[in-house]
Amino acid sequence: MRRLVVFLALTVALLAAAAAFDWWVDPFGEVWKPDVLAAARKQNCLVSEELIGLRYWSFKRDVFFHRPTREFVVGSSRVLKMSDGPHFSNLGYPGSAPETILRLFKSLPASPTQTVLLGVEGFWFNSRYTLPTTDLSTYKELEYLLARSTFTHAVSLSRQSAQLPQHRWKLDRIGTQCVLDRFEPTITWRLDGSRVWGWELDPARFPKFHGGAFTGNLETWRNGYFADWTVLDRSRLDALEQALALARARHWTVVGFPPPEPPHALQVLESDPRLAPQWNAYLKLMPQLFHRYGFKWVNTVDGAKLGCARSDFPDLFHSDARCSRLLVHALAAAIDNRRESLREIR
């Protein structure tokens, strides 16, 4: 009996120790630990993506609940530069879609009432667009913590950084900003949930990215999000309608918009025969769909009309801070008009 106990106890102890070490170092950023955000709030620092990993869902909820949020934006990575004062939270994240937005709405409190800027992407309605996992189940988390590959990476990271076993992050100063990071903060997050690229903080240390031009190959253009798009995906439309219905039931104000496109990309979307029918159907349907629930749709798809220059789209996909500011102003104006007209009706 003694030897059986030794075997079982030692096995459990070793696995528990390895899992605890993996949890602490968390080499792939798979375990959500809100303490880094608490520390960043105390020192008013940015947080490196290395410490957020793919846990956007938990991160954005943390942002929402730690701010006096009255207005927030949801959408894909293309809304992540939007920022607007102390009551504004950016709850967008890469890998969003109508179903994640519905889930997010359900998880937020009904009151106080919110103003929601909902950035709707055309490619969301391509059924081939699949979502990355941004919220692990407990089982998957356990699997991750017990995996040998996690342990070997954790050991390797600990070797690279002597402070890692004691402190999971270090305080860095990049340009004028303080950043909580580990090694290479190429992407960082503000405490309102908006995103900052490394080259915006220090262009000498982090090279600005380029590329993204359309070559005709839909499999490679924009990560293949538009490839094989033949019809508007019904299940995603249903999810979007459910989200709008929930917002209406909660008396929230919702403004839908398409994230702005640079001129060349807009031309591709409007004229490429593989894309144009679906793209035009999406742009035609969205205003009707938002109006059906009593909400406004603002067509911000043409970046040039907003005042965004070609250079405001570094990768010809995501708009930069300047263009995003113009977008926020356009949406704010639409909201004000809306409020005015509601007042007139009453």
Binding site: R3, L4, V6, F7, L8, L14, T150
Partner: protein, 459 residues
């Protein structure tokens, strides 16, 4: 559910073992294990248990009928019933595909709907194993060497017992029956020894077999580019991969069954030490080779009807044995190749040809490795390319595959330096060895995240 998976290791196994020994009544324990085994099987696909229940019902009913009326027609009906399920799920796509090709050539009609139906057939894992177990039971009852089981629960336990359900060993009911009539008390030494054997199997699978697989799969994905040394390394590597993979499963099955107080028959005994193909089949997948001998080779006439008939029987038995592994021509070719090796061995012996044992072991090893090419490479082009590489037709350049070579050296050392793991006296291990095994177990458990499924699950 895989033995090398977290749901099995962290939830299923601990819960079933604790519940098993917590239950006071023997029949309740049998019921628990049968229920757990059906759940274990349903984890792969929800409808698989219905198929196993059908096979169990056929075997049990046939046994009872044979007990009252031991007529050949009853046996044939039972065997055909079991084989019918196997034939449909395993061979319909294969045979039907060729039949449709034939019809297409003759009539010009493609019959796409029929082809879609055939392509939609899913092979339930483990069906080859429990079908053979059911057949052996029915034949043994018919021959009078085994009493028919009247207790359906015990028979269902025999067929479904999860340690051997998916990939054997192929158990005969005569071995299992006496063990199912007694209640097994909790025996810490026995449980520990089962866990230690399971640990050795798990470590062999995730550390050796999967480690080798990473390199072998990479090389064999482009057989046309392999030079002489790399081609041989890849082929030998696969020989060790499949051996460690399958023998690991068998060790794990034996260890798991031991925890529940059940002894299963061993399946491997360092087959690469064999000095002839005949000896190889006495050491490799022994429960299958003895099944083929007792229920196919001997009924076909065995060696009782002259040399020519014996050789034909060997060819037939091994070709069918090859097809048992998978419904594809390469498996039939692999089986026939081994049939030829066995017939050749008999012929050589009869002519008094003897080699010194070390040389005979080396020759047998090379012959077996050449056979693995047929087993592993599914297409004629792939088989041809790898053989061409092994015979130097792609040149001798390309260097040596360092990491794979290291695995091969370690594998040779294990195979020739240590006995098969089920022979290790784990029940007498000192506490220091037990502690070392716990470390090994922890490492092996942490390695299952990226583990490959067992090769023999496909069969």
């Amino acid at each position: 559910m895989l033995f090398n998976s977290f749901p099995f290791l962290l939830a299923f196994l601990p819960l079933v073992v604790v519940a098993y020994f917590a239950l006071p009544h023997h029949r309740l324990r049998l019921l628990l294990v049968v229920g757990a085994s059906y759940y274990f099987y349903a984890y792969a696909d929800w409808w698989f248990p219905a198929l196993m229940a059908g096979s169990t019902a056929i075997g049990y009913t046939t046994g009872r009928l044979l007990e009252r009326n031991p007529r050949k027609a009853v046996l044939v009906a039972g065997v055909v019933g079991c084989l019918g399920l196997l034939a449909y799920f395993k061979y319909a796509q294969f045979a039907g595909g060729y039949a449709l090709d034939f019809v297409h050539v003759i009539t010009g009609r493609k019959l796409p709907h029929l082809r879609t139906v055939l392509n939609g057939i899913v092979l339930p894992i483990g069906i080859s194993f429990y079908t053979f177990e059911g057949i052996s039971y029915m034949v043994d009852v018919y021959r009078g060497t085994l009493r028919a089981e009247r207790d359906l629960l015990r028979y269902a336990f025999f067929i479904s017992f999860f340690p051997h359900l998916i990939a054997g060993p192929i158990v005969r009911y005569g071995i299992m029956q006496p063990q199912l009539t007694v209640k097994h008390r909790f025996d810490a030494d026995r449980v520990r020894s089962g866990l230690l054997l399971f640990t050795l199997g798990l470590a062999k699978k995730v550390l050796l077999a999967d480690g080798i697989a990473a390199y072998v799969d990479n090389y064999l994905s482009t057989p046309g580019q392999l030079g002489f040394f790399t081609a041989w390394s890849a082929a030998i590597g696969f020989g060790f991969q499949i051996y460690f993979d399958f023998s690991a499963y068998s060790d794990m099955a034996l260890g798991l069954a031991r925890i529940f107080g059940i002894d299963l028959p061993w399946n491997f005994d360092r087959p690469y030490r064999s000095a002839s193909p005949t000896e190889f089949w006495r050491r490799w997948h022994v429960t299958l080779s003895t099944w083929l001998r007792d229920y196919l080779y001997i009924p076909l006439g065995g060696n009782r009807k002259g040399e020519a008939r014996r050789n034909l029987n060997l060819f037939l038995t091994m070709a069918l044995g090859g097809l048992w592994h998978g419904a594809a021509l390469n498996f039939a070719a692999w089986g026939t190749y081994h049939g030829a090796l066995l017939a050749g061995t008999h012929e050589a012996r009869e002519r008094g040809l003897r080699l010194p044992r070390p040389l005979a072991v080396a020759v047998t090893f090379v012959l077996v490795v050449l056979g693995w090419v047929l087993f592993r490479m599914r297409t004629l082009g792939g088989i041809g390319s790898l053989y061409a590489g092994m015979f130097g037709l792609h040149g001798f350049g390309g260097g040596l595959p360092g990491h794979l070579l290291l695995y091969i050296v370690v594998s040779f050392a294990i195979v020739f330096g240590l006995p098969e793991e089920w022979r290790w006296p784990v029940e007498r291990w000192h506490v220091v060895w037990v502690a070392a095994a716990a470390v090994l177990f922890a490492v092996a458990v942490s390695s299952v995240y990226t583990a490959h499924p067992f090769i023999y699950f496909r069969f």
